[in-house]
């Protein structure tokens, strides 16, 4: 009679009972999957234990195995009355890019906890971005903190251990002025989520001693019920430590935090009886110091080569970590050896618990003593819980009783994938507003209003709360100058103390374009991420990107269709910009069902593209603020009337319009030339045009430098569009560049037809804009700075 494991009657169960078992035990397995489980156990002639079913449920969960992204989709696209059908595989499309580009820059892609690219002959750069949306919506402080804690462990678990050197954070929140009384039951106020999430990232990231130096915040009504929290970490790793392999007979060692009943069944409620005094385990509060202590010794152990393999213990807990590590050998685990926070845990709970700050190592016997001593010397928990054995099986014991024995092949290859259907129809073009060109002459008022717009205004109140300089690597900081008066496009780091080689990290996110067309949104996000790092000095030819998709209810064929179209955009534009994807993650089913009404709201389909690129010499990095009166100003790239989804239309309530379409065939060659000019030190300042268009970019440069400018709109490269579009259109592929007057000839020769000289920097602090031979308006840099810095209250 087994004492610690419960037999689950699967073999004798019909379809109805199978679904009941899945539902009652919160396994979240569908009928097809339950049938696959039944078939396997019928084949081996016995019923599964509770621990086995839980292990399968974890391994096969959407969170762990990304079934939607791995499934084949029949995709239908309707445009201009024509219907096009296509079979696509989302993950396949993304990977195709990297395979086709086959770049030497990529060291390890899509197989480890993070993507790794080449930094120099000795080191690689690891980068991973994760989401932690649901926990952050329920408990913003704890959810965001454990989000950043988790992605840091992904970097520590990349290769045989990368050293985290930077964090990135991107958030999407509801509008902060939402009415407290009108929020549905169970939804926290956006302001509370905003403060909680920022505080959580601040307290965890700062205590870990990792600079948080790049990010973005998007505010939109659509995120009121489901906020998005993207946490990224960049690490540096000796190239010789990239490869890792579990060896037969290695010991399984769990390190860091102790195991409790935390996060069992992820975001659903636990089946364990709870009273009002005990946490529901759904959400966790992290303990950064436990992770910091673990990181310190783990990196020492990595330097000394004491282990063969390391991975994070995240979603699915030990079940996922050990299950994956042992997938090619087999593993034997003694659950009673796992250090616990308290004693009353059941074996399967220990096995799938998601307690924070834990990692798993594969340690050869000869290093075991040294490794355990090292961890003990700094008071870090390390316990041997089993061994990798060449059995091809996952065998788990609790006090000598077998509680689980599964074939690795079935566990990792047995999940039945579905055939999905998806459709996308272009929204009928909104009636184009004939009088869209404003008659207004009060441009300064419009510009000031845009500068204070919640999606454009300075994030100083947030950025300054992050320690963005710890480790003394941060060269280009998120805000410009001593007084934080302007924005930076990207963060530039100098990861090695004795070397001027650096990296630039930037991102692109714009759900507003996605409402018009997810395909163009993908292109714009990719280009923006690239523009950001290029304008800070990165080489567009030595850059890579990461994708993070956050989508609504993908059981809905239209939502899934929009996602598929977005993925197609990622594929096409990444290929054209020659940017390999090195890692990615999807978080699907971000929707909220109101209890009273049953009304379902999905988030706006959201894509975050993060980019990392190499800066050959960080002393050549340029910031975005104006440097000297009299210097010449150039615009690179063409302005079209592309104002659909623009901040200008949003702020002034104008519907419709064309969404911006990137033109990689023109933009990429121009970026390469611009990069050469930056590299030789020709460029004094550089800023890309994005949210709010040309005039907002120009105002930010003026604010940052405390200097004005004289610009002639007619000189901008354009299809003869109105001043309104010249000022506010969000056409891609544009930079504003400041050049010393003496270098005019050199710069124009280097850039060719891509640029036009539009004016000059003015020491007097006035931004004067001319059009058609007349002064259109002027605006002081100081007022622009004040406006830009006033829109976001903490």
């Amino acid at each position: 009679m087994p004492e610690y494991a419960l037999e689950m009657n699967i073999i004798g169960a019909g379809d109805k009972e199978l679904l009941e078992i899945s539902g009652k035990n919160l396994l979240a397995l569908n009928l097809e999957e339950m049938k696959a489980v039944k078939k396997y156990f019928t084949g081996i002639g016995r019923n599964p234990t509770d621990c086995e079913l839980e292990t399968i449920a974890q391994t096969w969960s959407e969170h762990c195995c990304h079934k939607i992204f791995r499934s084949d989709i029949n995709y239908t696209e309707k445009a201009n009355g024509k219907i096009r059908e296509e079979k696509i595989n989302l993950l396949g499309e993304i990977r195709k890019v990297t395979e086709k580009l086959d770049s030497d820059f990529c060291v390890s892609v899509f197989k480890d906890n993070a993507g790794i690219v080449k930094f120099n002959d000795e080191y690689g750069i690891a980068f991973k971005v994760e989401t932690h949306n649901h926990p952050s919506a329920l408990e913003p402080y704890g959810g965001a903190g454990t989000g950043i804690g988790g992605v840091i462990r992904d970097i520590l678990g990349a290769g045989r251990g990368a050293k985290p050197i930077m964090n990135t954070d991107v958030f999407c929140f509801g509008l902060p002025d939402a009415d407290y009384k009108r929020l549905p039951e169970g939804v926290l106020h956006p302001r509370r989520i905003f403060r909680g999430v920022v505080s959580g990232v601040r307290d965890y990231g700062n205590r870990m001693g990792i600079p948080t130096a790049n990010g973005a915040i998007v505010f939109d009504e659509g995120y009121q019920k489901n906020c998005l929290v993207f946490c990224g970490t960049v690490g540096i790793i000796p190239l010789k430590n990239v490869e890792k392999k579990v060896m037969e007979d290695d010991y399984i060692v769990v390190i860091g935090g102790k195991t409790g009943r935390d996060g069992i069944h992820g975001a659903t409620f636990s089946s364990i009886q709870m009273d009002a005094n005990v946490s529901t385990n759904v959400v966790q509060i992290g303990n950064p110091i436990v992770e910091k202590k673990m990181m310190d010794v783990l990196l020492t152990a990595a330097d000394e080569g004491l282990y063969n393999f390391v991975t994070d213990c995240g979603a699915g807990g030990l079940s996922s970590a050990v299950g994956e590590m042992g997938s090619e050998t087999g593993a034997e685990v003694m659950l009673e050896k796992v250090p616990l926070k308290y004693s009353e845990l059941l074996p399967w709970e220990i096995w799938i618990s998601e307690s924070q700050e834990r990692m798993v190592l594969s340690v050869p016997g000869k290093n075991l003593k040294k490794l355990l001593e090292l961890f003990a010397s700094e008071d870090v928990e390390a316990a041997i819980i089993g061994q990798f054995k060449k059995t091809g099986k996952l065998e788990i014991y609790y006090k000598n009783e077998a509680v689980c024995s599964l074939d690795m092949n079935f566990l990792h290859g047995g999940v039945p994938l579905r055939n999905l259907k998806a459709q996308f129809a272009f929204p009928g073009k909104a009636e184009y507003r004939k009088d869209a060109d404003a008659k207004t002459t009060d441009w300064p008022a419009r510009i000031m209003k845009l500068l204070t717009d919640i999606n454009i205004t300075s994030r100083e109140a947030v950025i300054t709360q992050y320690d963005h300089e710890v480790q003394a690597h941060t060269v280009l900081k998120p805000l410009a100058g001593m007084e934080h008066s302007g924005p930076s496009d990207a963060a530039v780091l100098k990861p090695l103390y004795g070397d001027y080689r650096g990296i630039a990290v930037g991102c692109g996110i714009n759900p507003f374009y996605g409402r018009h067309d997810p395909y163009m949104m993908a292109g714009c996000c990719i280009e923006e991420a690239l523009r950001n790092i290029v304008s800070a000095g990165a080489d567009p030819g030595a850059a890579a990107i990461l994708d993070n998709f956050c989508w609504g209810d993908v059981n809905d064929e239209e939502n899934l269709g929009a996602l598929a179209r977005c993925v197609k955009g990622c594929r096409d534009f990444a290929l054209k910009y020659k940017l390999p994807f090195i890692s990615g993650k999807d978080s699907l089913n971000n929707f909220f069902v109101e209890e009273k009404t049953g009304v379902e709201t999905s988030i706006p389909g959201t894509l975050l593209i993060s980019a990392v690129g190499i800066v050959g010499d960080i002393r050549k990095t340029v910031s975005s603020s104006f440097k000297r009166g009299g210097n010449l100003l150039y615009i690179c790239g063409k302005t079209r009337k592309e104002m659909g989804g623009s901040r200008y239309y949003a702020v002034f309530g104008i519907e419709g319009g064309e969404v911006s379409e990137p033109v990689p065939s023109k933009t990429l060659p121009m970026m390469r030339k611009l990069h050469c000019c930056i590299e030789v030190g020709m460029v004094k300042s550089c800023h890309d045009c994005s949210d709010g268009g040309f005039i907002i970019a120009l105002s930010e440069m003026a604010a940052g430098g405390g200097r004005g400018a004289e610009v002639f709109l007619d000189r901008m490269i354009s299809d003869d569009v109105s001043p309104e579009a010249l000022l506010f259109s969000e056409s891609q592929g544009r930079f504003i560049v400041e050049i010393d007057r003496t270098l005019q000839g050199d710069f124009e020769k280097a850039m060719g037809k891509n640029v036009s000289m539009i004016g000059s920097v003015a020491e007097d602090g006035e931004i004067k804009v001319f059009y058609g031979g007349e002064k259109l308006f002027s605006l002081s840099a100081e007022e622009a700075e004040k406006a830009w810095r006033s829109g976001l209250q903490w």
């Binding site: 407290y180 302001r191 303990n287």
Partner: protein, 160 residues
């Protein structure tokens, strides 16, 4: 449970209290006049009063800016405020509590103490019971991970 409360000395600005007050105003509760915030450390009965005082004076209090009181002593009575205590639920990571335990050990105290840490807020103003509950639920505590308790100092109910 016995409670050591650590608060700022007279004349040292209570920046957290001011912050909470601002947030309560933002919620549309304009009756709030003043908020005072302090740290609370709850001890199970294993430690004696002398030990608790030793812990307070040597480990918990920064004598230049803070003072402490044990079990509500030195409380000026009848100020008519709402007192809200917020503690983590059992099973939720309470890292400060773990740190206090380490510090107690460093200080040579052998007793095995059981401790939880939290925050106390004193709210003054004309607040309805509904206001107070709303402040607890929407601002000061998250019922998923924290418990809160509401207590009225004498003389309060009148202006509710």
């Amino acid at each position: 449970m016995r409670i050591i409360e650590v608060r700022n000395k007279q004349g040292v600005p209570d920046v957290f209290g001011q912050d909470v007050r601002k947030n309560i105003r933002e919620m549309g509760i304009s009756g709030i006049e003043e908020v005072v915030a302090s740290e609370i450390y709850g001890f199970e009965d294993s430690a004696g009063d002398d030990e608790l005082r030793y812990i307070a004076e040597n480990i918990l209090v920064d004598s230049v800016i803070q003072e402490y009181c044990l079990n509500g002593e030195k409380q000026s009575a009848g100020e008519g405020r709402v007192v809200i205590d917020v503690f983590y639920k059992k099973g939720v990571t309470d890292s400060v509590a773990d740190t206090v335990k380490t510090a107690v050990k460093d200080a040579g105290i052998k007793t095995d103490i059981s401790i939880s840490t939290g925050k106390r807020y004193y709210l003054r103003g004309s607040l309805t019971e509904e206001d107070v509950k709303s402040v607890c639920m929407k601002l000061l505590a998250n019922p998923l991970v924290q418990n809160y308790s509401i207590r009225y100092e004498e003389g309060n109910k009148s202006n509710a």
